[in-house]
Symmetry: C2
Subunit: 281 residues, 2 copies
């Protein structure tokens, strides 16, 4: 397992493997890897000849008042996990390497980036699509592994790939949770014990919603109300949004029909957590 820091070297390595007809599995991350990331790397390992993991805390997807500066970083730990999970290369560039002086080009998906997380984090998805597009050009992946915890991100990137006719496969992978249900996230390390306890209501409210759908509930307004009510039982949780939209098109709907993404974001103190569940009827 080797760590590569320049675009040029990464491109050269990929080119050599491509010349041999090898497939490339790519797992783009912001580092501070957890079991969720591990599951993506392991799946990439199974399905491809070469596995590249990128670790890049992307400045352009953070808002001015967000946690870019304090976002957790630990490249040594990440290297070990990547090696154990079967990654061949970590691509770990500096911000200047990805955004050299005078960069001016952005890739943007409209409409579906203004709702859910895009509604509360303006510009976030423009940063995401721009950096992911850059990484795609550098790593030239056959298959890309994204966790469904960021379900909107998966939908947005899939839209970008289709709209731009890119020959790249997006592989959405299931959310990995702690034993008690909390969705794994690099941001979970921010949580105090008390916050951590309150945060359990996040996944619990989603499981309840799923159960309600399974029992026949189709009214989205009622489902959202139920989730909000459950979240309100934990005073430490400040809901940012609770929403249900078609997946992967992310269209607003009144009733559950087909595949529906039920997603939410809450603040627990200064920590912003997201979670979701996909139901299908």
């Amino acid at each position: 397992m080797q760590i590569i820091t320049t675009v040029k070297e990464m491109k050269g390595i990929v080119k050599n493997h491509k010349a041999l007809g090898e497939t490339i599995g790519f797992v783009p991350t912001m580092g501070y890897l957890h079991q969720g990331h591990r599951s993506l790397i392991e799946r990439a390992r199974k399905e491809n000849d070469l596995v590249v993991v990128s670790i890049f805390v992307n400045p352009t997807q953070f808002g001015a008042n967000e946690d870019f500066d304090i976002y957790p970083r630990d490249i040594d730990r990440d290297s070990q996990l990547t090696r154990e999970a079967g990654g061949d290369y970590i691509f770990h560039p500096s911000a200047d390497e990805i955004y050299p002086m005078g960069y001016r080009t952005y890739v943007e998906v409209t409409d579906i980036t203004n709702i859910l997380c895009g509604g509360s984090r303006p510009g976030h998805f423009k940063g995401v699509t721009t950096v992911v597009h850059k990484l795609f050009q550098i790593v030239s992946p056959t298959r890309n592994y994204f966790g469904l915890k960021d379900a909107q991100q998966v939908a947005v990137i899939q839209t970008m790939v289709e709209d731009l006719f890119m020959d790249i496969e997006i592989v959405p992978c299931p959310i990995i949770r702690e034993i008690d249900g909390l969705a794994m996230s690099s941001r979970n390390v921010y949580l105090s014990d008390e916050d951590r306890k309150a945060a359990l209501m996040i996944s619990r409210s989603l499981f309840h919603a799923k159960e309600a759908v399974e029992k026949g509930e189709r009214n989205i307004e009622k489902i959202k109300k139920m989730i909000r009510y459950l979240l309100s039982e934990e005073p430490l949780l400040k809901p940012e949004y609770v929403e249900a939209v078609s997946f992967p098109r992310l269209e607003l709907m009144d009733f559950i029909e087909g595949r529906v993404l039920i997603a939410l974001a809450v603040k627990v103190g200064k920590v912003r957590l997201i979670d979701n569940i996909i139901v299908e009827v």
Copy 2:
């Protein structure tokens, strides 16, 4: 020479040639080809194994009050010229093929798209970079041939390619002119005899500017004044802008230094014409 109309078929053809290790020369156009385009196709023929010419009047790069509907089209004539110049394929998709229902993704270069033609045609370059990016993904070209008549377009696309780390070569090619100096353009067919005569002052003013620089003039304000004065001698010409900027970075400057693009746009009746000259000191 074959005409391809679907993304899928074009991608398939390109893939087969790539698998043989062949290079692909690409000439993206809006059709109604003239000798300027022919020079691009001939050069692509010399330098590549396969030559693809796209003919697509791209709706997203036209403003609401511009000439999209009446832009000249003649696929039979274009086919003949492409065949004669050595093109292997014409890619001639419908608008729905390039922009299917629900497309939402745009590629945008900022800053340098707000000046010159971008200043008078808001959104124009966003349409250009989006469609050129899509075409690049479909045709997967080794080298791309663009005429320097659209010098700003060349600079913008070069910026996009560099910023997004795309493995694509941009080959800027010289402006081709009529014997009397008028830069070749598909829009020249719009000109009445009287307009056509007046339009000669466009290139003439640029040649004068070049001569002045060669004689030692470095003051850009003076050069612009001279061009404006010459244009004003033809009452049929309504200048839209006269500008001089560094090339290819397109930075405003006070004095000629290094490579400088002297560019202008004028209206002749309803017809908008552009021309430019690059000087180097």
